[in-house]
């Protein structure tokens, strides 16, 4: 089973509400559902879509084609219909010409029957359930749960609305609708990318977040604010991104694990703060949720365009860690790891995500959330006699205490400094040693970095080389290509700076896969490993890379070669 659904309409037409409700119902039926969203940067109007993919075992990557298409208006119909399979079913809010479709005027039904247009969402959800062959009581149970904090009438009306939609679909559908989704015993976790990051942060001991709203990062601070009681993270909406990172650094210095979250433009403003964290050796975690630039660019779209900027961000030379998780589970684990390494090496850690991951929900049978409690790296007070915040040590890591924690005074200085944190201009001496002490940490950190993930590389002719959130699409494309007897493997990076010792097996054709236009990973790997790609697959239109997109290009590439 691999059913694709597109719900499309303008902002304000409930696309997101329908999609989320539907996902919950499918999940409750015991199926895996993967969802992702693409929408315009406006509050009303435009044309947006919510995509679902239903399967029996998780298929967590975006599909290009849909089997079921719900259009909320004619513009949506025109824009997204080309994505519907030839055999697919089209449910339309408005009567549309051209291809055969089932017209169900959700809004009209809502107004006529329930006096409120808002019920159109539930009617539409009911209709899709009908088409999918989900029993109506499955939907009703989810509605009861979803609206449990509303009054009884609301719940009842929604159930009636759902049934109304359900029946209209059944009536209209006839034998077009081939699907059946009977209740299964399985139960999947359905986890959104940035909620995974937020929960992981709290689990890693994060106690402070300061951030300035910026798509697609805003979900993190919003979720942490909503979950204040459960997670205990202090939340501050900063006046700008410069304040955000400096507040986080202040909190980190004072002993609270701290983070911030932003997108490219805000990250640009944070570059100086990244350098400050490097110099003062203050742990801080920065979530960089990418969207297409430059400048304001396409605020609600996805991209992998900030890798080299993140690696090189901040003036001067200092250690930092850059990681780019592949999916929510990986994001959970890498976020915990990021906080631990930030504290262990007293460095800034940049976790790169993107709009695709931020807004997508992935299904998991088990969610491995890394049951190691947050690693602490606080020195034992009893071991400290004469305290120097920046003591020169062989591994470059100095004992970090917190101000007010003991009688020891804790200092931090953005100037080049001596072991006590006081300004130094001892050029050949102390200044030099401090500079080196910080860089030595980078060597140690490098030794801890995991090698890229390798899949089927030994037997592969072509190896797709990717990073971050393209992993799902790459893995699926390998399966597709295997079906065409192409031996394709994968080397996938999620820990990107410093890069670990690694050598690319020889005799392979390497093809990079990136959601950007200039091939940033490709460039990075050439500099670091001297490896050259034989080809590259790039996409920079603001939408995620899909398996079929990759497959097509690999095939073309192969054909050209012959």
């Amino acid at each position: 089973m691999d059913i694709g659904i597109i719900i499309a309409g303008s902002a304000g037409e409930g696309v997101q509400t329908i999609g989320a409700l539907l996902a919950a119902v499918i999940q409750a039926q015991g199926y895996s559902v993967f969802t992702w969203q693409e929408f315009e940067s406006r509050i009303r109007g435009g044309q947006n879509s919510f995509r679902l993919r239903i399967s029996e075992v998780p298929k967590n990557s975006p599909k290009d084609w849909a089997d079921i298409f719900v259009s909320m208006n004619s513009g949506a119909a025109a824009k997204y219909l080309p994505l519907l399979n030839e055999t697919g079913v089209w449910v339309s809010e408005t009567p549309e010409g051209g291809r055969e479709n089932i017209t169900i005027p959700f809004k009209k039904i809502a107004e006529e029957n329930f006096k409120k247009v808002i019920y159109a969402n539930t009617i539409a959800t009911g209709a899709v359930c009908g088409i999918l062959g989900i029993a109506v009581n499955g939907l009703c149970r989810v509605i009861e749960k979803t609206f449990s904090n509303k009054n009884k009438t609301v719940v009842q009306t929604n159930i009636q609305a759902a049934e109304k939609g359900y029946i209209s679909a059944l009536d209209a559908c006839k034998d077009q609708c081939v699907w059946q989704l009977p209740q299964r015993a399985d139960r999947y976790y359905l986890i959104p990318g940035h909620e995974a990051v937020s929960l992981a942060a709290a689990y890693a001991g994060c106690r402070f977040i300061s951030a300035y709203p910026m798509s697609p990062s805003t979900g993190i601070i919003t979720y942490l604010s909503q979950k204040e009681d459960d997670l205990g993270v202090f939340v501050e909406q900063a006046e700008d991104e410069i304040a955000a990172i400096n507040m986080a650094i202040g909190a980190g210095y004072a002993g609270a694990r701290a983070m911030t979250a932003t997108s490219g433009g805000g990250f640009s403003l944070m570059a100086e703060g990244v350098s400050l964290a490097g110099m003062t050796e203050t742990p801080v975690v920065i979530i960089l949720a990418q969207r297409p630039g430059p400048a304001t660019g396409l605020p609600t779209r996805t991209a992998q365009g900030d890798l080299l900027f993140a690696i090189n961000a901040g003036h001067g030379e200092f250690p930092k860690l850059v990681i780019a998780p592949a999916d929510p589970e990986d994001a959970f684990q890498k976020t915990v790891r990021g906080f631990n390494l930030a504290e262990k090496y007293q460095i800034p850690v940049i976790i790169i995500s993107d709009q695709f991951l931020a807004d997508a929900h992935f299904s998991y049978k088990e969610f491995e959330f890394n049951e190691i409690p947050p690693e602490l790296h606080t020195p034992n007070l009893d071991d400290i006699d004469h305290y120097k915040r920046y003591r020169l040590t062989p591994d470059g890591v100095s004992p970090r205490l917190f101000p007010g924690q003991s009688a020891h005074l804790v200092t931090a200085d953005s100037d080049e400094h001596d072991e006590y944190g006081h300004i130094t201009e001892d050029l050949g001496g102390m200044a030099d040693q401090m500079f080196m002490k910080r860089l030595v940490k980078m060597e140690r950190l490098k030794a801890e970095i995991n090698p890229p993930e390798q899949r089927g590389v030994a037997s592969a002719e072509i190896v797709l080389v990717g990073w971050g959130t393209t992993r799902g699409a790459i893995l699926e494309s390998i399966l597709l290509l295997a079906g065409e007897n192409k031996k394709v493997g994968m080397i996938h990076f999620t820990e990107l700076w410093p890069l670990p010792d690694f050598s690319f097996p020889s005799g392979k054709k390497y093809v990079s896969v990136e959601n950007n236009a200039t091939g940033q990973l490709e460039w990075l790997l050439r500099a670091e490993y001297g490896v050259s790609m034989s080809g590259h697959i790039r996409k920079w239109d603001g939408l995620p890379i899909t398996a079929t997109y990759i497959r097509e290009r690999v095939v073309t590439y192969e054909d050209e070669r012959v």
Partner: protein, 285 residues
């Protein structure tokens, strides 16, 4: 020669005779009088001559980036309000590069005391105009007389009902000490702007200021916003020093969040257990 727990042995980089020394003494004396221990104090600064301050007293400190002392201090205060967090900054640091943070700190009312060394110029970068330089004054930049009018940050603080606003004078150490004691003691945000003549780049020597400085008398009602605004809008030959304004009582930053944990540092908060996290994740099932 060590006379106070706040003294240290670090070589002072200020020009001999600079009025910054007076502020340093006033602040150390104030902390002594208040009976603070060095480890209970955290001084935060940015970059500038004024911002070198934390190196010259014995306590915790964070000497951050130019213009960014306030957000760092807010983060520290949020993480550990048991610390006496002080910001020592310059007119360029706090009102130039850092102006936005100043505005927004006023919105939050943290229990922080901010001391601004106002020498009406950028000293460390060699004498350029600052946001407080008077119109017509000469600086190393611009080459001609200054054309932009100065900011009235005390006025802004008063308009926003700051917890405490005062003007001090680096040439009157005892008086300034008193203001700093008040600024630290009140709960909420305190702003103390200090007239701090720069003998290297400034227009006037200390003596010039002594002539124009006068102490605010008891007639002044420091709960009266209009009266306070009038005091900070006087012509430049009248420089009122003393407490200008005392804000109305209002919640302190993070008070709601801290209702159960009070002043305890965030690093003492209990970790989230594996089972709790498993439970939270189960809500996604």
């Amino acid at each position: 020669m060590k006379t106070s727990v706040f003294d240290n042995q670090v070589e002072n980089q200020w020009c001999p005779g600079c009025s910054n020394f007076g502020i340093l003494k006033a602040l150390k004396d104030a902390l002594l009088t208040l009976g603070r221990a060095p480890e209970a104090v955290c001084v935060v600064s940015g970059i500038g001559q004024a911002a070198k301050f934390p190196h010259y007293l014995n306590c915790n400190f964070f000497n951050g980036l130019h213009g960014r002392a306030l957000p760092v201090a807010l983060g520290i205060h949020a993480a550990n309000p048991a610390l006496t967090t002080l910001v020592v900054t310059g007119d360029g640091d706090c009102y130039g590069e850092g102006g936005n943070h100043f505005l927004h700190l006023l919105r939050r009312n943290p229990d922080i005391c901010v001391v601004v060394h106002n020498n009406e110029l950028y000293a460390l970068t060699k004498g350029q105009a600052s946001p407080t330089t008077p119109v017509g004054a000469r600086r190393t930049l611009p080459a001609g007389p200054v054309e932009s009018s100065p900011l009235n940050m005390l006025g802004i603080a008063i308009v926003h009902d700051v917890g405490y606003a005062a003007r001090g004078f680096a040439g009157d150490i005892d008086h300034l000490k008193g203001l700093i004691i008040e600024g630290i003691s009140i709960r909420g945000l305190a702003l103390i702007e200090v007239v701090q003549p720069c003998i290297t780049w400034g227009t006037h020597p200390m003596g010039w200021y002594k002539e124009y400085v006068y102490k605010i008398d008891d007639v002044h009602d420091h709960t009266d916003q209009i009266a306070a605004l009038a005091k900070v809008s006087e012509p430049s030959d009248k420089i009122a020093i003393g407490m200008l304004y005392r804000g109305k009582p209002k919640p302190i930053y993070a008070e709601r969040f801290r209702k159960d944990i009070t002043d305890r540092p965030l690093f003492e908060s209990a970790a989230i257990s594996t089972s709790k996290m498993a439970g939270l994740l189960d809500t996604f099932k």
